[in-house]
């Protein structure tokens, strides 16, 4: 059974559809990149998958026993987070809260898991550092470690490299690839960065105003869509 199956999904604001008749499936271990122009509904789709936003019509089915509190989410950073006084450990640990009762008391297992995930993302030595003193790349790794505390199956990422310098950007992509390949975590990522998306992704969901392409990377690269979009991308660069 597929991890996620979207059938005939329509998305948008105030009942008006931005995206119509969206079909795609995500299997365990896939690396799906969602690309497309601004305003094509990419972030809206991620919000719909996390349940932050209701879909206008259609169905999204979660398979393989995936439930809402097993999704790891890396949202776009808000301005107030940039100077938030919290230690890295506090932030990472808070990823465990989704599966806790209303009081949210951490168990020893949660603490263990937080430390393990910090090790995976190479932020262990930042444990007691203040979140606001970290560089953009370090902050994203910390948020990724937090997301891993919430999931063992699926990561949803909304523009994870926004504002990062080129080195931090490529490190971030390598990390995601590593999580996908070695830790068997399914990745769904919205990205502006088409070239990087094509390098690592196994599947592509290309969204336009009124059409959508979904397929694996090889078949995508041979389409007219890819030629036009990538051609445009090079011109812009």
């Amino acid at each position: 059974m597929s991890l996620i199956k979207a059938e005939n999904v329509c998305l948008g604001y105030d009942g008006e559809n931005v995206v119509e008749n969206l079909f795609f499936t995500v299997e365990k271990g896939d690396y799906l990149c969602v690309i497309g122009e601004n305003g094509s509904g990419k972030s809206t789709l991620i919000k719909a998958l996390t349940g932050l936003k209701k879909i206008n019509s259609g169905t999204i089915t979660f398979g393989d026993g995936l439930s809402k509190n097993q999704i790891g989410y890396l949202p776009q950073q808000t301005p107030s987070q940039k100077d938030f006084p919290a230690s890295v450990y506090e932030v990472v640990l808070s990823g465990c809260l989704g599966r806790k009762n209303i009081f949210g008391v951490y168990s020893r297992r949660d603490r263990r898991q937080a430390l393990d995930n910090m090790a995976i993302l190479g932020v262990s030595d930042l444990k007691n550092k203040c979140y606001r003193t970290l560089s953009g790349g370090q902050q994203q790794r910390v948020l990724l470690a937090r997301a891993l505390c919430a999931t063992k199956t699926l990561l949803l990422l909304d523009e994870p490299v926004t504002g990062l310098d080129p080195v931090a950007t490529s490190e971030m992509y390598e990390l995601l690839y590593h999580l996908n390949r070695d830790h068997k975590i399914t990745v769904i990522m919205v990205s502006h960065d088409v070239n990087a998306s094509l390098k690592y992704a196994s599947h592509i969901l290309h969204m336009k105003k009124d059409e959508v392409y979904f397929g694996d990377k090889q078949s995508y690269l041979s389409t007219e869509w890819a030629r036009v979009f990538l051609g445009d991308g090079e011109k812009n660069d």
């Binding site: 996390t50 349940g51 932050l52 809402k68 509190n69 999704i71 790891g72 989410y73 949202p75 808000t78 107030s80 987070q81 938030f84 006084p85 919290a86 230690s87 506090e90 932030v91 808070s94 990823g95 809260l97 989704g98 599966r99 806790k100 209303i102 009081f103 949210g104 008391v105 951490y106 007691n128 550092k129 203040c130 003193t133 948020l143 937090r146 997301a147 919430a150 949803l156």
Partner: protein, 272 residues
Amino acid sequence: MIDTLIFVFSQPFMQRALVGGIVICLCAALLGVSLVLKRYSMIGDGLSHVGFGAVVVASALNFAPVAVAIPVVVAAAFLLLRLGENSTVKADAAVALVSTGSLAIGVVASSLSSGMNQDFNSYMFGTILGLSESDVWLSIFISVPVLVMFLLFYNKIFAVTFDEAFCEATGVKAKLYNGLVAVLTALIIVLGMRLMGALLISSLVIFPSLTAMRVCATFKGVVICSGIVSVVCFLFGIVASVLFDLPTGASIVIANIIVFVIFFCVGKLVKR
């Protein structure tokens, strides 16, 4: 000087002021951490004006002021939080509208009813030295549950303050905890109005946490430090007001300003 202090602090009115003041300062400081970090500082200010309006209208109509003010301020808290979410009216403008609007209603109501100047002043600037025994009990009855709730839900409040979107996505009911903080804040603001007055209560909410954030690097550190700063400033303020015969509420705020400046400088030095 010591003798004067010992004499003053042995008076029942002073002991009532200390008990009532400390519990409310503590609660205001803890809730303030979450509000300031969420960029909701002005909501505290807006709510105190709503509370002022509600209290004056209530006493003009011969209702019990606090009993009317609490539900009105809770409702206003939810309204302001909701306005912050969907931005037909920008949140800061909404706060300004509600706050000046209620102030105006309060002023008109007080001028229509005769003999209210004393009350008017006390709601504006507080009467911490004039707390009755029932005021103190009310403060304890409301503050202690607020403290307990804050500590019980501490981890969740931290997570929701840091990142609402992540919480919602991973199954933490962010809206529920936002609502909780709103209700607790409203309660403390109505209570704090008796102490500091509508004009000064928001400084009790905002100053201690901002001060603590200058030097503390963890959320837990900020919460603890903010509570301590709040109580210490309250004590300094009240002592200064006794010794130099100054208005109490304003002295407490000035103590907060001084400590803020000190922490600000220490923070700058430590970073360097």
